[in-house]
């Protein structure tokens, strides 16, 4: 099945091939240098969102809500309206915006600390109310902006600056599976976990993000895409090793795939 799909992708790419350019920077991604570390998944996710927005032609309708974390200055990179929420409160801010501007496309961009630690109540209740918003949830297993602390999604045994000997279940509990938790909420309509550790996975991630935005455009309700993402700096590895770590380790605990659809 995978071979057939790859061929299909290739065809679309080739049909586009008449244009001189088969791949270029999406328009809504400002042509500036990104501040993210080498090999950081945030940069890729930023681009996938902008590609989706360009393809749906909704740049002028979209309003982004940036988190507190590495992506706090996402508005420097996105060429559409963006506001910034207090740490963890992104879904509440997005709820406020979407309810009064139902015609706009509202999405939140959150890290694992923002969404699965301090913002747990907000994400659960936004999903439970079935808010017609899209959440892009970047899971890189640490708090990057503040220097590599344990996050709710840090794997058991993973070393961070606050789990020097590795995360222990006894002291720090288990890594949390937020999407699986949210999937039992009827209001949550589309939940998928993807990754950006390889070109093939990036293609799949792009499709998931498009499906999530389509869910909102079609007024179906709450959609969320969790993106397993590399953080070479605070995993203490090269970018290539970090990509492999997702393939071999992270995605075994956090399986890639559609968790719930409609």
């Amino acid at each position: 099945m995978k071979k057939k799909r790859l061929k299909k992708i290739k065809n679309t790419a080739i049909r586009k091939a008449e244009e001189v350019l088969a791949f270029s920077r999406p328009k809504s991604l400002r042509d500036v240098e990104l501040h993210y570390c080498a090999g950081c998944g945030h940069s890729i996710v930023h681009r996938l969102i902008c590609e989706t927005i360009d393809e749906f032609g909704i740049r002028e309708r979209v309003i982004g809500v940036a988190p507190v974390g590495c992506a706090v200055i996402a508005y420097d990179y996105w060429d559409f309206d963006v506001t910034e929420a207090a740490h963890g409160r992104t879904p509440a801010v997005a709820t406020g915006i979407k309810r009064v501007l139902p015609g706009n496309i509202v999405f939140t961009y959150q890290g694992d600390g923002d969404l699965a630690a301090i913002g747990t109540a907000e994400i659960i209740h936004a999903a439970n109310r079935g808010e017609n918003i899209t959440v892009i949830f970047v899971n890189n297993g640490v708090y990057g902006m503040t220097g590599g602390q344990m996050a709710p999604t840090t794997l058991a045994g993973q070393k961070t600056v606050t789990t020097l000997e590795g995360r222990t279940i006894r002291n720090d509990g288990y890594p949390i599976k937020i999407l699986e938790m949210l999937s039992v909420l009827p209001g949550a309509k589309y939940l998928e976990r993807v990754s950006v550790h390889s070109a093939q996975e990036i293609l799949r991630a792009k499709r998931a993000i498009s499906k999530a935005f389509k869910t909102q455009i079609d007024n179906k309700g709450f959609s969320i895409v969790e993106v397993l993402s590399m953080c070479p700096t605070y995993w203490g590895m090269t970018s290539i090793q970090s990509a492999d770590r997702i393939k071999n380790e992270v995605s075994t605990f956090y399986p890639i795939g559609v968790i719930k659809s409609y």
């Binding site: 809500v65 506001t83 910034e84 929420a85 409160r89 509440a92 801010v93 406020g96 309810r99 501007l101």
Partner: protein, 348 residues
């Protein structure tokens, strides 16, 4: 018609064109949340009962970002949960109205009326240098009228505005007149985020990482606050010209203090009253100007004494400033105030 203060406050918001309300249950302001649920449904506005007061203020943040008149309400503990959000609203220069029907504190306290949140409201309960305009109504009618103008002040200065009431005001029913508000222009909000159709993309944020950028932003905010101080001070004074003793009180305590003043006047004592209506910006001049002539100030609050400090700052030692207060939900009576006045007269 008869209305409790909480409902009157809600109607003031509806009259002002409030189109988004997020609330959370907490006594003694529950009637307001219920009233907004009803009225927002009738007027096509958005009502959300949020998962917490903290989420509620952030929803109001979102609605305000989108350019809509938005309000939240709570009572002391809930208002504490909103402080971070209020700091963000002030930092992003976003208008909104926050209603606090104070209750006994600290901690869980009780559900009786109190005024122990004065410092939190006027000195800034959240982080960073910011101010919010704080209006202190003393009746159900004023709850309606001040909530109404709170939205105009919020939009005019792009700043949060707080209505500081208490449980007594909220739940007491009083006659109300509803003024017609037809044909009132709503403020245009070119800064709001509504999708960048036909213009450059915009963003609203309070993060300023550039070198010196946040200091510049703070200077701009301070300029705004000074401007508010110049233009928006409101206070009421009674019999202060010939007074030997001037009572200073706000909200429901001002009405009790007034009764105490009248008891004193009936006994030939020269007593006056200053009632700050805006707690921030505080009516310093009104107090400072009279400080030289009056012999004594008596500040009366339902707290351990908070506004008394601002009175002292305004008086600057030119007159004696005394305090009488009841804590933990205790409500002073006019007789208690009279007794305190007589004691002060005897001393001088």
């Amino acid at each position: 018609m008869l209305m409790c203060g909480n409902d009157a406050c809600g109607e003031g918001a509806i009259l002002a064109g409030c189109a988004f309300y997020a609330g959370y249950p907490i006594t003694p302001q529950n009637e307001l949340t219920a009233y907004m649920a009803k009225r927002m449904g009738e007027t096509g506005g958005v009502f959300i009962q949020a998962e917490s007061e903290l989420a509620a203020i952030n929803m109001v943040f979102g609605a305000s970002v989108a350019g809509v008149r938005a309000m939240t309400s709570s009572s002391s503990p809930g208002i504490s949960l909103k402080q971070e959000g209020i700091s963000y609203l002030a930092g992003c220069e976003l208008p909104c109205v926050i209603v606090n029907m104070q209750r006994g504190g600290p901690g869980l306290g009780n559900i009786a009326p109190a005024q122990g949140d004065y410092f939190q409201a006027v000195k800034g309960g959240g982080h960073g240098d910011y101010k919010i305009i704080v209006l202190a109504p003393a009746s159900a009618q004023e709850l309606m009228d001040y909530t109404y103008i709170a939205f105009d002040l919020a939009d005019k200065y792009r700043n949060p505005v707080m209505i500081l009431g208490d449980g007594l005001l909220g739940q007491m029913m009083e006659p109300i007149q509803i003024k017609s508000v037809e044909g009132r222009p709503l403020v245009d909000k070119p800064w709001a985020l509504t999708g960048c159709k036909g213009r450059q993309a915009r963003f609203i944020r309070s993060l300023f990482l550039g070198d010196g950028a946040l200091e510049e932003h703070n200077k701009k905010l301070q300029e705004k606050f000074n401007n508010i101080k110049k233009n928006e001070i409101r206070a009421e004074t009674l019999n202060i010209k010939d007074a030997d003793i001037i009572l200073v009180a706000y909200g429901s305590v001002a009405r009790i203090a007034r009764a105490g003043m009248e008891l004193g006047r009936a006994k030939g004592l020269k007593v006056g009253l200053i009632r700050p209506i805006t707690l921030w910006p505080f009516p310093e001049k009104t107090i400072a100007d009279i400080s030289g002539k009056a012999k004594k100030f008596l500040v009366v609050e339902m707290s351990a004494g908070q506004m008394v400090e601002d009175v002292m700052l305004a008086v600057k030692g030119r007159a004696e400033v005394d305090f009488y207060g009841r804590m933990g939900g205790g409500i002073p009576t006019e007789e208690e105030i009279l007794k305190k006045i007589e004691a002060l007269v005897k001393q001088s």
